[in-house]
């Protein structure tokens, strides 16, 4: 049996119409299922368009205040203390001015600022290079609130993200971290395993419960956290009232962590 050109076009056209309408019906059904699925976000949780943090160095009165934030973070997230700078795991740590803000260091900057312990962490960039390079999408930016997340189940430990991160915010587990956790384990949070990369997560597990990140809670107001999109949020109030800088803004990653350098309050 042969068909002529006219018949072929008729059949092809009819088929295309049927195919398209089928696809829209399928999409509608899928949407329906998604809307009525058994999963929902906890209404108690905090929500934002994009989370951001400000670090006011003038409000840290001593090194102990800074250490308190680090300890709070590392305690609840079961962060190991490897004791070896080549293999250390860092979520929240301190850097000197010239390391935190390279390119801004001046020869005659007041020595006081050179030696401030700048609290640094993952910047939860709006344009995160780590997410771009991840081959498994183990690290990704949450659409809902802009947090740059890690999915440890997917991480294959290739460390591309560590090479990509311009802030050194990512650490690799060269060995099983559990023996190196000297503190009492937090039973509500997992540890990590050998061969995955980890970093600060803006305490997504606490935000889901409706509480602010652990470091913010113990910082006595030195750290402010909130929705950068909301003009009344804590972080926006700090940004409105102070001159702030960000780490390496020139490379276009749009970090979400802002620094108030402040006066000479810190000794």
């Amino acid at each position: 049996m042969s068909i002529n050109r006219r018949e072929f076009l008729k059949i092809a056209g009819f088929g295309a119409v049927m195919g398209l309408s089928g696809a829209t019906v399928a999409a509608a059904v899928k949407k329906e299922v998604e809307a009525t699925g058994p999963y929902m976000t906890d209404p108690k949780g905090l929500a934002a368009k994009r989370w951001a943090m400000s670090v006011d160095m003038s409000k840290f009165k001593s090194d102990a205040d800074v250490q308190k934030c680090i300890d709070a973070c590392h305690q609840i997230h079961n962060v190991p203390d490897i004791g070896n700078t080549k293999e250390e795991i860092k979520w929240l740590w301190t850097e000197t001015y010239e390391h935190a803000f390279p390119g801004n260091e001046d020869e005659y900057i007041a020595p006081h600022y050179k030696h401030l312990p700048f609290l640094v962490l993952c910047n939860h960039c709006s344009n995160p290079p780590c997410v771009r390079v991840c081959p498994t999408k183990a690290t990704f930016k949450r659409k809902s609130d802009g947090i740059v997340m890690m999915d440890m189940h997917r991480c294959i430990g290739c460390r591309f993200c560590m090479a990509a991160c311009p802030y050194g915010a990512r650490s690799f587990n060269f060995k099983d971290p559990r023996p190196s956790i000297k503190r009492e384990l937090n039973p509500e949070f997992p540890t990590r395993t050998k061969g995955v990369v980890e970093k600060c997560t803006f305490c997504y597990e606490r935000l889901a419960k409706g509480v602010k990140p652990a470091c913010v809670e113990v910082s006595n107001g030195a750290l402010a956290f909130g929705d950068i999109d909301d003009p009344n949020s804590d972080v926006r109030k700090v940004l409105d009232a102070n001159f702030t800088i960000r780490r390496k803004p020139e490379i276009g990653t749009h970090p979400s962590v802002y620094y108030v350098i402040g006066g000479k309050e810190h000794d």
Partner: protein, 131 residues
Amino acid sequence: MYDSGKIIVGLVIFIVIATLPFTLNLGKAVAKPSPSIDTPVINQMAKKQCVESKDDMKTAHMQMLNNWRDEVVREGSRLYTAKDGKSYNMSLQNTCMNCHSNKKKFCDECHNYVAVKPYCWDCHLVPKEGA
């Protein structure tokens, strides 16, 4: 056939070795796994009911855990509404293991029997047993 003697002897030796796991265990029954739900939290429950029915949990807990993982980590959803309308916090470490605090007698019992080694516990903490 050249060297038939050597070949046949070789074949016999191969078959004996290849079937050794079966012949060695012939007639021996391995004890059936009997996961225990004897934990303080479960014992206090009036109606011993998991998130879904026992049969569903038995056959599909792995799919459920996979879905929970993806929902929590990637979508940020934390609550699961079961078929009976009850709502649960989707968490292996905080929800599942809160009731099933006996990993050795519950999880491992069947996992060892069927020789599967889920890597949950590389990261997730096991509740302290006997506490």
